[in-house]
Amino acid sequence: MEDNIALELKDVSVAYGAEPTVRNVSMKFKKNQISALIGASGSGKSTLLRSINRMNDGLATVTGQILFHDVDINRPKVNVYKVRQEIGMVFQQPTPFPMSIYENVIYGLRLTGEKDRRVLDQRVEESLKHAALWDEVKDRLKASALSLSGGQQQRLCIARTLATKPEIILMDEPTSALDPISTTQIEATMMELKKDYTIIIVTHNMQQASRASDWTAFMHQGNLIEFNQTTEIFMNPHEQATNDYLNGKFG
């Protein structure tokens, strides 16, 4: 695996029943870059994303190789719990637990048995700062996470994902339930995060892909149609289907 590649998919197919939802996708995600998966509803982009950190276990059959540090993590033998700590996930709806802000952030650390107060305190501050939420919540870390606004909750979920120190963060339409201001804040946060993390984001919002991502993959009916630098995809799409989608001919 080349040095600048964080994750590689080889011939990945996903099927819920007999008919595959994602067909033979092969692609490489570059380190410290934001890659966006775009496509119409039902194109398989979310399904593909969820397969990367094995969230589809027990729900769908995923075939092909998913290479992370030269290890194929799409094998039964792989420790999926470890995989999910290395490849974190942020969901469409903010999903804070009904606990304090502090407890939410250290949830993943608690799972690994971390008890040292100093480590926990430090990681909470670090993660919340990274997710651009620290200044807003530093005085009320013991308050319930449910008291935060939607945008704050989503940034808390990002902080929570960061706290386990993953290398890759998967985001499944992270702003589709948020207002424009919160969306802008999340996008700004993503820009900051890519210094330290590799981000793969699924989005319905084409402006978001063009604004925030370095690379864009267009998926259509389970197939990867085109994957290129975002500027190239938006300015000069090579495939007719990509062009049609970007011009709103279907979607």
């Binding site: 950190n53 969230m55 470890k82 999910r84 969901f91 999903t95 637990f97 606990m99 799972l111 994902t161």
Partner: protein, 299 residues
């Protein structure tokens, strides 16, 4: 009056419907309220007459251990202790089992399994208590007799029967509570690398704790008030139980056996009403506890 005035302010089908609806619901709630008030007043006046009319000391009643109404001795403590004893034991044993079954059904087994188990469990909830008593009489008592000797009748038999009776109720309620935990908690926890067990005890159980406790109190309230099934297996000796195998009597079983054998208006009959009053007060306390638990959950 102009046409528009009439059209916009005159009586109509809609306003009539509203009025009829309000009258009907108000009437219904009044009937229920009166019913509750009547029960409370009746039970209180009958239950207190032992102390007022016959001058029995309330303290002697709740702390005395000799229950011989015909000889003028009204110590209800054995029944109070037995009622609490069998209820607590049945509840404590039933809670972990009900919780495990509910977790298996909601979190571990495939959803198709739930479609079969849930109706079966709800069917068990609806079985009349006399059937449970009968099962106790014909199955459990012989087994206990074989294992521990003696007659087999007693507190242990009652505990087992009550346990069998309340487990389905508790499982059913616990399943509902667990299903009410948002799916997003499970997803998020899984996404952070939690195993299923970690997800259950770190996220699902804490957010379902209030409901699980309610299920337990509900089951125990049912056990506390059960008369028939208990009466069939407990041996009906109004004495302080000394062991799990000793015959005893609960508040309810003394009531069902005694109410036909005493004459209305006598002290012996009024003593039974006093027991009923104790039962009512205890039920109110169970009810209150349930509400408190739920209030804490919301707060």
């Amino acid at each position: 009056m102009s046409d528009w005035e009439k059209r916009l302010t005159g009586p109509s089908k809609e306003t009539n419907q509203e009025r009829v609806g309000r009258v009907l619901t108000t009437l219904s709630i009044t009937v229920i309220g009166l019913l509750v008030a009547t029960i409370l007043i009746f039970l209180a006046s009958k239950g207190l007459s032992l102390f007022i009319k016959y001058g029995v000391n309330i303290w002697d009643f709740v702390s005395g251990t000799d229950w011989s109404p015909k000889k003028g001795s009204y110590g209800a403590l054995p029944m109070i202790v037995t009622s609490f004893g069998v209820t607590m034991l049945a509840g404590i044993v039933a809670l972990p089992l009900a919780l495990m079954v509910a977790l298996a059904v909601t979190e571990i087994l495939p959803p198709a399994f739930r479609k079969v188990t849930q109706p079966v469990i709800e069917l068990l909830v609806g079985i009349p208590s006399v059937v449970y008593g009968f099962v106790g009489l014909t199955v459990i008592i012989p087994i206990l007799r074989q294992w521990f000797g003696g007659t087999g009748f007693g507190m242990l038999a009652a505990t087992v029967v009550l346990f069998l009776m309340i487990v389905p109720t508790m499982v059913s309620m616990t399943i509902d509570t667990l299903l009410a935990v948002p799916e997003s908690y499970r997803m998020a926890s899984k996404g952070l690398g939690a195993t299923r067990w970690q997800t259950i005890y770190r996220t699902i159980l804490p957010s379902a704790a209030g409901g699980v406790l309610t299920a337990m109190i509900f089951g125990m309230a049912r056990a506390f008030g059960e008369a028939l099934a208990v009466q069939m297996v407990i041996g009906n000796a109004s004495i302080m139980p000394t062991s799990l195998m000793s015959s005893a009597a609960t508040l309810t079983s003394v009531l069902t056996t005694g109410i036909g054998n005493t004459v209305m208006g006598t002290a012996a009959n009024d003593a039974l009403w006093s027991l009923a009053l104790v039962l009512l007060v205890m039920s109110l306390i169970f009810n209150l506890a349930m509400r408190l638990v739920n209030r804490n959950k919301e707060g």
